[in-house]
Amino acid sequence: MATIRLLYFASLREAAGCDAETVDSAAPDLAALYAETAARHGLAWPRERLRVAADGAFARWSDPLRDGGEVAFIPPVSGG
């Protein structure tokens, strides 16, 4: 079981109804963590359209959770 700080941005933040939350998860990797999170909040984004960041750097969906870590699901960006 890992304790994770989840960050939400843009439309994901609006869909989740918060900009951050702390969750406990037994998910084996970030992909499974997103599946749990999407189910809990009813997030519509398929994982394939998102990127994931862990502890302030882009990460792979297959990366394991780090207890005490910070994770963000990144919807398509629109800066510039």
Binding site: L7, F9, A10, S11, R13, E14, A53, G56, A57, F58, A72, I74, P75, P76, V77, S78, G79, G80
Partner: protein
Amino acid sequence: MPDNPAAVSVEARFALAEVPFEIAPLRQGLLLAHAGAYASFEGWVRDHNEGRPVRGLHYEAYAALAQAEGQRIVDEAAARFAIAGVHCVHRTGELAIGDLAVWVGVSAGHRDAAFAACRWVIDEVKARVPIWKHERYADGDAGWLHP
């Protein structure tokens, strides 16, 4: 092996700005005696987007990651292109029509590298940096842009 052997000495900076910023002093910082060419790009808030009248917008950033990824982009540009300096600043927060949203400045010995690096940086910033645009339209509608 980088294309640019002088890359170690290239000034490469990326920054987020929560309030309007002045380009002039940033450009001045790129004005180096050995650089004969300077190319810049600016993105401004337009009064329309894909046919819809726009009243204003704001940019939200995942600031820590945006800063790290933006710096990675300008560092990559310094290694890829024969340039003397590269600097990019991206606004966050509330912007009005005509406000500056993003600026890229590149100095180089020659114009080929200056243009190529400038174009590459803005393309990468738009593709990779976690910043999101929220537009408000004249008809009262509003929404996040997720291309």
